[in-house]
Symmetry: C2
Subunit: 218 residues, 2 copies
C-alpha cells in the first residue's frame, strides 16, 4: 500500500476511535491519550498522525461529514431514475435525522463538536464552509422544483433552504434529548416540506382526520 | 435574611460562576474546583451547596431557564395590552434567538449542557420536562389564533408548535456557529411564522399566489 494511502487509513482508524468516545461519553475531557488507548496504539504513535487535539478533531469531523454525504448520495441513488427535486430534498433531510445507528452516532459526535465549536474558530470554520454549500444545493433543488411548476417561484430561495436545514437540525436535537421519537421527527419534516411546497391544505385535512390522536398527545 | 433564602442565593451565585465558564470556554473538563475558583470560594464551601457536578449542573440549568422565561414574559408584557397569539409566539420565539448578550450567553451555556445531556439521563430529564411544556403553551396560542380566525384550524397542532421550536433552535445554532447573523435568523423566523399563518405568498411575491389556502389564512 502506498505510504500516503496508509497514512490516510491510519488517520481514519484514529478518527473512528475518537467517534466511539464521542458517541458513548462525549469529548468532555477526552485527551489524546484516551483516544490512543481506544485506538489500541501508543500516544507517540497517535502524535505521528495528529500533533494536536484540534488537528485530530478537524480531520475526524471532515471524515464523518464525508461518510454522511456518501450515505445521502446512496439514498438519492436508491430513488427513482429521475427523482423529483422534492424527493431529493426529502432524502437529504431525512438522512440528517437519527433514524438509524449510523446517523445517530454521527449526530452524537456532532453534538460533542458543537459544544467545542462555539468557542473554537478552527472547528467553527468547518460549519461555515459546509452549511452554505448544503444551503446552496437545497436552494438549487428548490429552483428546479419551481421550474417544474411544483413550487411557487418566490419560495425558491436560500432562506427557505436554510429554514429546512434549521428545522431538521432542531428536530434531530430533540430526538437526541429524548423529547420525541425519530418517527415523530420524520413526520414533522414532512409537515415542513408540505408547508413549503404549498400543499399544507392536504396535510390539514389529514391532521383533522387524525384529530383524536393530536388531542390524546397533549 | 432567612437561612433558606441565603442558601438559594449562594447557589445562584455559584450557578452564575458556572455560566461564565460555560459561556467563555465551555464545560469541557471544567471541575467543581474550577467553578469554586471562578466563584471566589473554596472547594469545600462549594460542596456545602452542591455535592456533585451533576447536582450543580441541573440547578444551574433550571436557574438559567427561569431567567430566560422571565425575560420572555417581560417581552410579552411589553407588547400591546391585548397582543394577538401570533405576537405572543413571535415574542417567545425571538427571545430564543441570540439577539442580545443575555440570550447569547444562555445559548452558549445551553450548548455546553446539550453535549453532556445526550449522554446523561439526569440532564436530559430537564429538556424532557421543559420542552413539552413550551410546546403545549405554543399549541395553545395556535388554538387561540384559530379561534380568532387568524390561523387555519388544522394548523393548531402540537406538531406545528414543535416545528416552530425546532426551527428556532436550528436557526440559533447556526448563529452561534457563525453561519449567519442574528438578524438573518430573525428574518427566517418571520418566514416560518408566515408559512404557518398562511401569508407567505403575500410576503414573498404578491397576492396572486397560494389561492384558497392564503385566503383561508387571512
Amino acid at each position: 500500500m502506498p505510504k500516503k494511502v496508509d497514512h490516510e487509513a491510519r488517520r481514519q482508524e484514529i478518527s473512528e476511535a475518537l467517534w466511539r468516545i464521542a458517541s458513548t461519553r462525549g469529548l468532555d475531557g477526552a485527551s489524546l491519550r484516551d483516544v490512543a488507548a481506544e485506538a489500541g496504539i501508543s500516544l507517540g504513535r497517535l502524535q505521528h498522525y495528529f500533533r494536536t487535539k484540534d488537528e485530530m478533531l478537524v480531520f475526524a469531523l471532515r471524515h464523518i461529514n464525508r461518510l454522511a454525504a456518501a450515505r445521502i448520495r446512496e439514498r438519492i441513488e436508491s430513488l427513482d431514475r429521475e427523482p423529483t427535486p422534492r424527493a431529493v430534498l426529502r432524502a437529504c433531510l431525512s438522512g440528517m435525522l437519527p433514524l438509524d445507528d449510523k446517523s445517530r452516532i454521527g449526530l452524537l459526535v456532532g453534538a460533542a463538536y458543537y459544544a467545542r465549536a462555539v468557542h473554537d474558530p478552527t472547528l467553527r470554520a468547518e460549519a461555515q464552509q459546509g452549511i452554505p454549500q448544503l444551503r446552496a444545493f437545497f436552494a438549487d433543488q428548490l429552483r428546479r422544483a419551481a421550474e417544474r411548476g411544483e413550487l411557487p417561484p418566490g419560495r425558491a430561495t436560500e432562506d427557505e433552504a436554510m429554514l429546512l436545514i434549521s428545522a431538521v437540525d432542531g428536530l434531530a436535537t430533540y430526538v437526541l434529548l429524548g423529547v420525541h421519537e425519530p418517527q415523530d421527527a420524520l413526520r414533522m419534516l414532512d409537515l415542513q416540506l408540505a408547508h413549503l411546497f404549498g400543499d399544507a391544505g392536504e396535510e390539514r385535512e389529514g391532521a383533522e382526520r387524525a384529530g383524536g390522536r393530536q388531542g390524546a398527545g397533549r
